[in-house]
């Protein structure tokens, strides 16, 4: 029982880590980023190359990949998203436009990765060492994902709810039309939220690459999972993403242990469906 609880939390930590960035991008910048998973995969490849070709430890690689991904995300926003934001008459239109654009971006990223790295399976071993948590052996790299997601989540919550800058971001998320009336630069807030979201995708990618086998085309799997977590948790809600991520991890693990590993996916979608029926805006979402 305890063993499954721990395994479930560790698995959920990965989901939460991967989903928080999408939640920020969707909630604050209002960009429904379908290329989110491919950003994760790009970071996976970057980590793999730094590790296997240059011998750079993936933890150290974070110091290179995170600033790089922030800059790249900022560039993507400036170059591609900003024109959409400027011409979109309302939120709904921006959402549709951003879905179309990022759907295209997905294939661009995927195509580039395919050309550079080919379609083969990539996997390497790092921190695959057993760590005992209350008597359950979990792998170090997965535990790192849980710890990172909790730490980043906590930091984000503090920033969002305890700082002036966080308040600005929340204002933009809550009332994008009224925020400028208070002298808030909504463009800047959205830009930064998008870039921070991209950076968090990269963080997820670096950590996930340590334990998960990936190919140039597996990004969509991450996008799907992150999307479920974001909608389940309530869009834009960081605590929501963490709770929903951990919940999914627990559901999957308990179903695999007590019912059947074949039903893990079905159980995820059942939980998704039930929760949406009860709370259409997600666990922490506002109407």
């Amino acid at each position: 029982m305890l063993e499954h609880l721990i395994n479930g939390l560790v698995l959920g930590g990965t989901y939460a880590l991967v989903a928080m960035g999408l939640s920020l991008q969707y909630g604050i910048a209002r960009i429904m980023n379908l290329s989110f998973g491919d950003t994760i995969i790009a970071a996976c490849f970057a980590t793999y190359i730094l590790f296997s070709s240059f011998g750079i430890n993936p933890i150290v690689a974070l110091a290179i990949i995170l600033p790089a991904s922030y800059i790249v995300s900022l560039g993507v926003y400036r170059l591609m998203m900003e024109p959409l934001v400027k011409r979109a008459p309302d939120e709904g239109a921006l959402e549709v436009d951003s879905i179309l654009l990022t759907f295209g971006l997905l294939f661009v990223i995927q195509g580039c990765l395919l050309v550079i790295f080919g379609g083969g399976y990539i996997s390497y071993s790092f921190m695959n060492t057993p760590v005992s948590v209350l008597g359950t052996l979990v792998s170090g790299n997965r535990l790192l994902a849980l710890v990172l997601s909790l730490a980043i989540g906590a930091a984000l919550v503090i920033v969002l709810y305890r700082t002036r800058w966080g308040m600005i971001l929340r204002a933009v998320a809550l009332a994008p039309k009224s925020a400028p009336l208070f002298g808030i630069d909504t463009d800047k807030a959205a830009r930064m939220a998008f870039a921070i979201g991209g950076t968090m995708a990269a963080t997820g990618g670096v950590v996930v690459s340590m334990f998960q086998t990936f190919t140039a085309t597996t990004g969509v799997v991450f996008t799907m999972k992150a999307l479920i977590v974001v909608i389940l948790g309530g869009k834009g809600s960081v605590p929501g993403a963490i709770v929903a991520g951990l919940l999914l991890g627990l559901v999957e693990t308990f179903v695999a242990a007590y019912i059947d590993p074949g039903l893990t996916l079905a159980s995820v979608y059942t939980v998704f469906l039930l929760l949406l029926l009860v709370r259409p805006n997600g666990l922490f979402g506002k109407a």
Partner: protein, 412 residues
């Protein structure tokens, strides 16, 4: 011509149809007088993107590229009259979709009018194109396809050849080893088994259940999981609680890698640890992060076979990485057979089919490789990691097969 017309009927625009038909007529007219041709066009559709890209990129595509490069470096394909014609390759990406692979084969046959078509990766994909290949009369050298129904298929599609055996072959060879180990008192009669709920996993587990049970084994843990699964903590912990000495997993590479990592973390070290696709990849020890001694899977090679060693060296030299230890060499052998058949009978598709069916060839598998009922049977069914190589094994060892070494030692 009838075939061509029925294919063209489906073309959306009449103008295009007319244009293609006109081209086809002129094409076939000159095709007859092809003695002074300058090249042999060989087409293939392969998964370069999508979920199948990983498998295709390991086992099939590199061998096509290697073979074409080797042939062209030697001046081209040798014809019966001694002249050599270089290969011009046309490759399409089927994007891991069976609809696309069928469309691409149709295109290769009717529009590109290639001389020969090489098959795609995967059992389902080969079955999808088999009727087309037969219809257009191309020899179909189904390499990366595991099927128990090959004997039926060769009757339905006479130009089809099957190079990778069937699930029963792999499972019964493995069961033999299990029985021998149980008789030697090294394992108990319990098996824990998981499989991926997708093509390969379903086929193998369907063959394995009756095979294990007939041999008197008790399958105490028998679960399937969806292909998207990436976390194996629960499965490994349930399997290790099952008291079975034998762990069998019919899996694709991501699962094989994930299970290995999790088994190391959880110190799950059953007497027999058998995985599906991926455990025979040369990168597997690297991915596992250290020793994989004793891990078993499908395939395996004979490390003392010089032909095979030369092939592996050449593959590494030209492609830049080593081939896998299961399907690669079979694919390459099928290409060698095709090459030698052309050298004997020329480019007539029917003659090539007949020659491959009945001829004897010198391939990487041996000096005298021949097919039985259009199927390659000289396949290594079970392999095991021994001293850093994935070698083909049998219970006692024999010609070309090492003796299996069990129980599996500890991870590291």
């Amino acid at each position: 011509m009838k075939n061509f017309l029925s294919g063209a009927m489906r073309a959306p625009r009449h103008l295009a149809t007319c244009a293609v038909a006109a081209l086809a007529i002129t094409g076939s007219a000159t095709g007859l007088a092809a003695q002074d041709r300058e090249a042999v066009t060989i087409g293939y559709a392969i998964s370069k993107s999508g979920p199948n890209a990983g498998g295709a990129d390991m086992t099939v595509t590199p061998n096509y590229e290697l073979w074409i490069e080797e042939v062209n470096a030697a001046g081209g394909l040798k014809m019966p009259d001694g002249t050599r014609l270089p290969i011009e390759a046309i490759a399409y990406d089927d994007r891991s979709s069976t609809e696309d692979v069928v469309r691409a084969i149709e295109r290769l046959a009717t529009q590109d009018k290639v001389d020969l078509i090489l098959p795609p990766w995967g059992t389902g994909f080969n079955l999808a194109i088999a009727p087309l290949m037969a219809k257009f009369g191309y020899p179909h050298l189904a390499g990366a396809a595991v099927t128990d129904k090959a004997s039926d298929f060769v009757e339905r599609w006479e130009s089809s050849f099957w190079f990778m055996g069937g699930s029963h072959d792999y499972v019964s060879a493995f069961t033999e080893i299990l029985v021998a180990e149980r008789e030697a008192g090294r394992i108990n009669d319990k098996i824990s088994m998981v499989s991926v709920a997708d093509g390969f996993g379903i086929d193998l587990v369907k063959a394995a259940r009756p095979s294990f049970e007939e041999a008197g084994f008790d399958i105490v843990y028998d679960k399937t999981f969806p292909p998207e699964t990436s976390d194996f903590a629960t499965i490994v912990s349930e399997a290790s609680n099952s008291e079975a000495d034998t762990f069998v997993a019919f899996t694709y590479p991501p699962h094989s890698f994930g299970l290995t990592k999790q088994a190391k973390v959880a110190s799950f070290n059953p007497e027999i640890f058998y995985l599906g696709v991926g455990a025979g990849f040369p990168v597997y020890p690297n991915i596992a992060g250290g020793s994989v001694e004793g891990v078993m899977s499908l395939g395996g090679i004979d490390p003392n076979n010089e032909l095979n060693s030369a092939y592996r060296a050449k593959h590494e030299e030209i492609i830049g990485r080593a081939p896998d230890y299961w399907g690669s060499v079979l694919i390459y052998a099928s290409l060698q057979m095709l090459e030698q058949a052309i050298e004997r009978v020329g480019l007539d598709k029917e003659a090539i089919t007949a020659e491959i069916s009945t001829g004897t060839f010198a391939t990487v598998l041996g000096e005298e490789t021949r097919l039985e009922n259009n199927q390659l049977r000289a396949i290594n069914w079970v392999g095991q990691w021994q001293d850093g190589a994935f070698v083909a094994v049998s219970p006692e060892g024999s010609e070309g097969l090492a003796a299996v070494q069990l129980p599996k030692p500890n991870w590291d």
